[in-house]
Amino acid sequence: MRFWRSTVGKKTVMAVSGAIMLLYLVFHMAGNLKVFFGPDEMNGYAHWLRTVGEPVLHHEWFLWIARVALLAAVVGHATAAYQLSRRDVAARPVGYRHRRARTSYATRTMRWGGVIIALFLVWHILDLTTGTVNPNGEAGRPYENIVAAFHTWYGNTIYIVAMLAVGLHIRHGFYGAAQTLGAGGRTRDRLLKATANGLALLLTVGFLSVPVGVMTGIVE
């Protein structure tokens, strides 16, 4: 298909899938804050997520529809990123002897940051969805699992590094996606950059508040 073959088409797939994942992250982060209201609120919220859409949807159907959509977004985003990166590297086979890094840190870390986030995704699902690597790992009790996960040094380290990567990724990704979808413009670029920075900061702080809450004993 002509659209998918072109670099602009692949970037569009990345922009749209990125926007879907970003929207999900906003809700995910907001939901995480339930942990500050105690085990009943948190576990009740987790249970409610399984009942969304009932009785039109069967039990847990909404959750599975969201999971399938997110998986499609991840696969589309990663496939396009891999193919575009291969192209980009091939387009500059001989580098400059006089090298200077002049792009922003967020821009330079998009590719490896994406890989870090993808690896974290696997860990995160094994930790808090299936409970395989969680020290508590009790189904239906996310509050206790979260507290257990952030009582380990490795759980905290992995999570904090990944959330910083997410923040940087959103900082450049949101701005790039807006440009790809044609929303850029001379006057609008400042607004887009400010929105990207705001979203990145909001999500990073929001996500990091949970392990910080557990480490400081606010969440117990």
Binding site: T12, R92, G95, G185
Partner: protein
């Protein structure tokens, strides 16, 4: 001024190249960068050595023929063409690295000369308007709104030097391609081919082996003609619009 130059020397496209060091003395700060290279070449010829090959033509910043990477910057430290860069931008005793544009789509021909005909093929695939030739058309036949004329003029300034590709970490030609797409798609004269133009030019750009845009903004910071980064976003919008319409005009 006395300067040390480290220049990329490469006999032909197949040979391996290397940075070669030269000393130049008594350089006037009022010389252009190309005149400084001329001075070096005169010395090299007198010594019986092969002069450094570099592209140049008008030497007044309007043709786009010249262009080398100076200390890692396309066209050097000032936002202009290499021919309009003056030696007063450097300090006495400086060591200056001079390299050709680096991109798979711009193979090195010799020393600092690269083959930029990929740009011609992008233009050939849609960077024109189809109009009957002959006597000049009546000036009032096609009214052009002032904002459209301004946008078209701004983007028509692109001289196709290739600095955008040289500066982009992905060797992307998006700024060059978008300048021509926005130039012609802003005008009523460009409207009949508005959809096919953007789709065909992006196809050719990809086929020539240029990379994709990751919005680093490097292209626009080195562009001697100040083509704005927003032109890439406008081209993306045109591309999506043309795709939705299946490449057909209204």
């Amino acid at each position: 001024m006395n300067l040390t130059l480290r220049i990329w020397r490469q006999r032909d496209p197949e040979s391996p190249g290397a940075m070669t060091t030269y000393e130049v003395a008594d350089i006037s700060p009022d010389m252009s960068f190309l005149e400084m290279l001329d001075t070096l070449n005169e010395e090299l010829i007198l010594r019986g050595e092969e002069p450094v090959a570099f592209d140049h033509d008008c030497r007044e910043g309007i043709c786009g023929a010249c262009g080398v990477v100076i200390n890692g910057d396309a066209h050097g430290p000032e936002r202009t063409t290499t021919c309009q860069l003056h030696m007063r931008s450097f300090e006495d005793g400086d060591t200056i690295d001079v390299e050709p544009w680096r991109a798979a789509a711009f193979p090195v021909v010799k020393d600092l000369v690269v083959d930029r005909s990929a740009f011609d093929r992008i233009i050939g695939s849609g960077g024109y308007v189809t109009a009957p030739t002959g006597s000049a058309p009546e000036a009032h036949a096609t009214p052009v709104p002032k904002p459209s004329a301004d946008t078209a003029f701004e983007h028509a300034e692109c001289i196709g030097c290739g600095a955008c590709v040289a500066a982009c970490p992905n060797g992307s030609a998006m700024l060059f391609t978008s300048a021509k797409v926005v130039h012609l798609n802003s005008l009523p004269q460009g409207a009949p081919e508005r959809e096919s133009r953007v789709l065909d030019m992006v196809d050719t750009m990809d086929a020539e082996g240029f990379g994709g845009c990751t919005v680093t903004g490097m292209c626009t910071t080195v562009c001697p003609k100040g083509i704005p980064l927003s032109s890439i976003s406008t081209m993306n919008r045109e591309f999506l619009r043309a795709t939705r319409r299946g490449g057909r005009p209204d």
